[in-house]
């Protein structure tokens, strides 16, 4: 690790902390329906949506209707995107004349974008028309992000409200989130990226002659507009196959800094929104602190091992120490313009959140450097996490932590004045089970299948890591990959599509059910006997529960993947 690298990571965090409060407070106002400074500009749009769609702005929904609305909307938009890709050949805005997308790939992709996963089993430049990208995929970048935030807000309302049967209106929350939060951020974000050199056009691909004299096709397209929401909505689906490593998507170190910031601002801001909504911002900062601890732990491990590089290369006399002239470390699969620190940082951020955009090849990370993104996803992406999903995921762990350890203060568990009882616990455990079952179940089923084996880019433990990473990424709705893995096969497209849908919707339903039950409860007043959930002690406890519950579930699997690969690498045993 270099001082320069550490300084850049520190700078990133300072800016993030500074943005958390203003954005969080703004979002709290938006969801409370209060007037903000954006109202003069955007209120007509919001009101227009209500009018056109026939939405009752003052409407309220029971958790079942709330969940129902979300599911119906997701199902319809999934179907729309699926159909669009299946007939894109006959539709406009397809200058390259790309053909229709095959059925299992179209299903996988539609599921992927609907669930905020943005796993890409395809190469965008040679598969998706501009129309499919913009109408089919970029729209989902807004919708799936808004849907995730809505669930988080509804879940928080479960704590913030009392003696109420409703959680708010999905349609209103969804509209406000899109209009007041995602749209302005995406516009400003896109313009900033354009300023750094990201492209935005509808031209056909450019053909250029390389220095060696061969012809090269350079893709074009409306890139910057998609790039911003790709990060802000923690979607991660790149316009190009190289994703954020592509110079058109992420041209400069500053654009790289912006992209990393885009990923975390809404998830970080939501912790403050949460604090505002439950009328105790210390509660929000406690979650923020727990997330930060896990974030720095991840960054430290990945940065350390990436900088340390592969000892076998060093033995061959290859210089891998950082010097003034070179970054050193494991540079395989990394862009020189980001170096080790910003690649490691990006990797951790994109997997802490459910973003999945990459600026380096995760498959080429050192074993333990690659262990971190995998664990991040398997913990449920609760370190700031996906937009909305990070907050509700962390709240799920908070409920669990309070339940397990809260008894130790001699009272039945309560969190934020709400008693945690049978129903909540059942729903929370259900959500935990869904995550574990989907990841381990699919990975276990696929581990010894020939069809999966032939997709692997590597053998040995690393091949196993590729399988585990793929299903973790799908279930966790992350979308990044150990890219040696060829996922575009009927079996993998289908099972991973299902994993994405399970990981998203089978988690949401129990959580909304728990929120519905919480909202109905009375508020227990705080006293000296109340389990304190805002101090450093709770932060430690929460981190402990996240790590232990998460790690205990996945440690056996991880030990056969990255852990053993690490030991083998140091023993000099390598795999093709």
């Amino acid at each position: 690790m270099t001082a320069n690298g550490i300084l850049q990571i520190a700078l990133y965090f300072v800016v993030l902390v500074a943005l958390t409060r203003p954005l969080g407070a703004y979002m709290a106002k938006v969801f409370a329906g209060e007037r903000t400074w954006m109202h003069r500009l955007l209120r007509p749009l919001e009101a227009g949506v209500y009018k056109v769609c026939g939405i009752d702005e003052a409407g309220e929904q029971h958790w079942t209707s709330y969940a129902g609305a979300l599911l119906v909307f997701s199902a319809l938009s999934l179907l729309f995107t699926y159909l669009l890709m299946r007939i894109q050949q006959w539709l406009p805005m397809n200058p390259q004349g790309l053909g229709n997308v095959g059925e299992h790939l179209a299903f996988n992709t539609a599921a992927s974008f609907t669930t905020n996963t943005n796993w890409q089993s395809y190469t965008p430049e040679t598969t998706m028309s501009y129309l499919s990208q913009m109408i089919g995929l970029a729209t989902h970048n807004f919708w799936s992000a808004a849907a995730g935030i809505c669930v988080a807000i509804a879940f928080v309302r479960g704590f913030a409200r009392h003696s109420m049967k409703t959680l708010g209106s999905f349609w209103v929350d969804f509209t406000r989130c899109t209009v007041y939060i995602l749209l302005p951020l995406a516009v400003v974000g896109a313009l900033l990226l354009v300023s750094q050199g990201a492209i935005q056009n509808f031209q056909p691909y450019t053909t250029a002659a390389t220095v060696e004299g061969t012809a090269q096709t350079i893709p074009q397209g409306p890139l910057a507009s998609q790039e911003a929401i790709k990060m802000i909505g923690t979607n991660g689906g790149g316009f190009t196959n190289a994703n954020s490593a592509h110079p058109y998507e992420n041209p400069t170190p500053f654009s790289n800094f912006l992209q990393m910031l885009y990923i975390f601002i809404i998830p970080a801001g939501l912790t403050y929104t949460f604090g505002k909504m439950v009328k105790d911002t210390r509660q929000g900062w406690a979650l923020f602190a727990a997330m930060s601890v896990l974030f720095f732990a991840g960054v430290a491990v990945t940065y350390h091992f990436e900088q340390a590089g592969n000892p076998n290369l060093a033995k061959l006399g290859i210089e891998s120490a950082a010097t003034a002239g070179q970054s050193g470390g494991n540079m395989e699969g990394k862009e020189v313009r980001y170096g080790i620190a910003n690649s490691a940082l990006f990797t951790v951020i994109t997997t802490d959140a459910s973003c999945g955009a990459v600026n380096n090849v995760h498959d080429s990370l050192t074993p333990l450097g690659g262990l971190v993104p995998m664990i991040n996803i398997e913990l449920g992406e609760v370190v700031f996490g996906g937009v909305g999903s990070g907050l509700y995921g962390m709240l799920l762990f908070a409920v669990l932590a309070v339940f397990i350890a809260g008894l130790m203060v001699g009272r039945t568990p309560e969190y934020l004045g709400k008693k945690i009882e049978q129903k909540e616990v059942k729903m929370v455990m259900l959500a935990v089970l869904v995550l574990a079952f989907t990841i381990l179940g699919f990975a276990g089923a696929g581990a010894n299948l020939g069809t999966v084996g032939s997709s692997l880019g590597n053998h040995g433990p690393h091949g196993f890591s590729e399988i585990l990473y793929a299903y973790s990424s799908a279930t966790g709705n992350n979308g990044s990959a150990f890219a040696g893995f060829n996922a575009n096969t009927p079996y993998l497209d289908t099972t991973m599509g299902l994993a994405m849908l399970f990981g998203r919707f089978l988690m949401l339903i129990p959580l909304l059910a728990a929120a519905g039950s919480l909202a109905q409860k009375k508020l227990v007043p705080v006293s000296a006997g109340t389990f304190p959930t805002h101090g450093p002690l709770f932060v430690v406890l929460l981190v402990g529960v996240v790590v232990i519950v998460g790690a205990l579930t996945f440690f056996p699997a991880l030990s056969l993947g990255p852990v053993v690969e690490h030991f083998l690498m140091h023993a000099g045993r390598l795999w093709s």
């Binding site: 203060v409 039945t412 089970l433 053998h459 030991f567």
Partner: protein
């Protein structure tokens, strides 16, 4: 409003006081013997199924038994690995069963004692109010009238409608001192199975056979109707959920291992025995095995304090209580006003006032009267005198005159309520100094009662009677406050007096001139704010409030209606015990939390023991994870399984006794317990497993 009751002498004040007469040693030999048998009986899968975690262990044990049998048929020795694992898996199940049986056994032993008093009792049923017929006690119905005389056992629960008798209630309360039961008032309730020691009473039976207090008590302590409490159910869901997660983690390890073995080209896929061992070590067996024992033991601890909890839910609710409603009289104060000061008016000598007050009180047997004699002796060394030699004529207190006194040697000394004595002085042509009113008002304002003393036409002064707050109450309320519990004093006194006493005792609030309706309203108001309320009561008019409160502790001396309405009955009739009940409730919840945390924290070490052992043949580098340096894969697995089983036995005393509880804020408690059971739970298994591994090596078992 609850009327005055005379409590037993206050215990020295600690939050967890000495146990009542029902305390038994933790490992009472007869109970242990019975528990040993029961542990095997509980192996019945139908019983085990109620405990998902331990059921998984039993199924695992059954599978390895088959495997061990197969191995032995194939010629393997008894010391074989599979055989040893099987043995320890069965031990794990048995240890958990033993813990539960131990907890139950204590209740059963209690029930047996109670049952002895329920031997065939006969009753003398009254017909037409005069003649009696002898019937079996079991034939009595609610509404029957029975006559019980000296030496007879009261045949059923009821109310005394005529007569007065001293009754031995030791069968129920464990307290050998007899109590008085008489018709009318709040001391009219008698319990079936208790014995009349002197005199006779007529009792109206209030319960039908099988529904008597004794029946209910037996059922309760035996745990026959034991239902899981809400928190216990929720905790069961969590540990069952974790069990499922681990089941999944272990089941999928098989295909993962298959891949790895194929990839590395060496080693074998871990055997089913090893996979089951890993599973058993990971699932929360410690809390799973001890959970029901903790609950039963919690109820038992309440019982040892001579409180009968009608449900485990009530005990759990006690831990959650936010507001304690405490009757002033008998709970906060000793219940008797006592003389604390002689205040003279005019130019009377203080000793003269004391002398007159003492004289007038010599024949006064009320606690107030006695306290005046005591104070006079303490302050002025005025001794008790033999007044018989004088021409003494004592005038007793009546509700009409509202004063008492003595006529002696021509003196006419009176003491009593201010206006009565003032009138008496006026009648004798005397005048009242103005300063008297100042003094009496000052006393009233401070929460005391002024007792004016006069001799014919002369006002001598005032005796300050004070409601004496029990020693240590202030500290106790401070402790409760630290625990986040608000105390509210309930009294029939006027607000002025109430405020003074509440201030002196240190309660957070008070409810003065309280009617039963006021009390009810207060409870409802607190509950509407999300708070849980506990209260004590004994009178029939307390019954609605006792039923409304989340924890209603009825006094055994109280009426049947009160006992029916509350969800706990204090057999000692000591209302202060409400505080202990709260402490026990908290302790119960803390024990659950502590063992859950400990159980989950333990898993980390077990991974480090078993995972390298599993895969060292496939990937020899996995040996680097063997940070404990366990000497062979087999002994590592065995050591983890043995540790997992033994920790249950080690923790049985903790489960039965409850974790140590000192009143402090939640934040402080959490810090302490998280350190002991969380951090301790992570660390403890490392040396434990290492030690067992060494022993296995020395004994050449693996």
């Amino acid at each position: 409003m609850a009327t005055t009751m005379t409590p037993p002498a206050a215990d020295p004040v600690t939050l967890m006081p000495k146990k009542g007469s029902r305390a038994r040693p933790l490992f009472d030999p007869p109970i242990v013997r019975r528990a040993l048998t029961d542990s095997f009986l509980k192996l019945n899968p139908r019983t085990m199924m109620k405990n998902p975690v331990m059921f998984v262990v039993e199924v695992g044990a059954a599978i390895t038994t088959l495997l061990a049998g197969k191995e032995m048929a194939g010629g393997a020795g008894v010391a074989g690995f599979t055989f040893q694992i099987t043995l320890w898996l069965w031990f794990t199940v048995l240890f958990a069963n033993f813990a539960e049986a131990m907890a139950e056994g204590r209740g059963k032993a209690q029930a047996d004692t109670l049952r002895k008093t329920k031997t065939e009792t006969t009753a003398r049923r009254l017909i037409d109010g005069r003649k009696t017929e002898t019937v079996a006690a079991t034939q009595l119905r609610a509404g029957d009238l029975v006559l019980v005389e000296q030496g007879e056992t009261i045949p059923g629960d009821g109310d005394v409608i005529e007569g007065i008798a001293s009754v031995d209630e030791s069968a129920i309360t464990g307290e050998s001192a007899p109590v008085i039961r008489e018709s009318g008032g709040d001391r009219s309730a008698v319990t079936g199975g208790t014995k009349v020691l002197s005199d006779w009473i007529k009792v109206k039976i209030t319960s039908n056979p099988g529904e008597t207090f004794l029946d209910r008590m037996i059922a309760l302590v035996e745990g026959a109707q034991r239902q899981k409490t809400p928190n216990e159910i929720a905790l069961n869901i969590v540990i069952a959920g974790l069990t499922l997660v681990f089941l999944l983690a272990v089941v999928t390890l098989q295909p993962f291992a298959t891949y790895s073995v194929a990839a590395s080209g060496s080693g074998t896929v871990p055997s089913v025995t090893v996979l089951i061992s890993l599973l058993v070590c990971l699932i929360p067996t410690t809390i799973g095995g001890l959970l029901s024992a903790i609950g039963i033991a919690g109820m038992d601890r309440v019982m040892q304090h001579n409180v009968l909890a009608m449900s485990g839910k009530a005990v759990e609710a006690a831990g959650d209580v936010n507001t304690l409603l405490l009757d002033k009289t008998g709970t906060i104060t000793l219940g008797n006003r006592q003389a604390v000061e002689f205040i003279v008016v005019g130019n009377i000598a203080e000793a003269d006032l004391a002398d007159a007050a003492q004289l007038s009180s010599l024949a006064d047997e009320t606690p107030e009267g006695r306290s005046i004699v005591v104070l006079a002796k303490q302050k002025y060394n005025i001794r008790g005198r033999e007044v018989a030699e004088h021409e003494a004529h004592f005038i007793p207190f009546t509700a009409q005159t509202r004063m008492s006194g003595v006529d002696l040697d021509g003196r006419r000394i009176r003491k009593g309520a201010t206006d009565s004595v003032v009138e008496f002085v006026h009648e004798h042509g005397g005048t009242v100094p103005t300063e008297l009113m100042e003094v009496t008002e000052r006393i009233a304002r401070s929460g005391g009662t002024p007792l004016v003393v006069a001799d014919r036409d002369r006002v001598l002064g005032v005796v300050h009677l004070k409601d004496v707050v029990k020693g240590g109450m202030r500290e106790r309320f401070a402790q409760l406050r630290a625990m986040g519990i608000r105390t509210v004093m309930i009294t029939g006194d006027n607000p002025l007096t109430a405020a003074a006493i509440a201030g002196e005792a240190g309660t957070d609030d008070f409810l003065a001139q309280a009617t039963p309706k006021d009390k009810m309203d207060l409870i409802k108001k607190e509950q509407a704010g999300g708070r849980l309320v506990a209260m004590t009561g004994d009178g029939t008019n307390d019954a609605p409030a006792l039923a409304q409160a989340d924890v209603g502790l009825a006094m055994n001396t109280g009426t049947m209606a009160a006992k029916e309405a509350g969800n706990m009955v204090d057999l000692d009739s000591n209302p202060t015990k409400l505080i202990e009940v709260v402490a026990i409730g908290k302790q119960l919840l803390m024990t659950r939390g502590a063992l859950t945390t400990f159980s989950i924290a333990n898993d980390i070490a077990k991974y480090f023991a078993i995972l390298p052992a599993m895969f060292m043949a496939t990937y020899p580098v996995m040996g680097k994870l063997n940070i404990m340096g366990l000497h062979s894969p087999q002994s590592a697995v065995l050591a983890a399984v043995i540790f997992n089983a033994l920790i249950i036995i080690v923790l049985i005393p903790l489960a039965l006794r409850g974790v140590k509880y000192k009143p402090m804020s939640a934040a402080a408690l959490l810090r302490r317990n998280l350190l002991v059971y969380g951090v301790g739970g992570v660390i403890a298994p490392f040396p434990g497993i290492w030690l067992i591994d060494r022993l296995l090596g020395i004994l050449r078992l693996a």
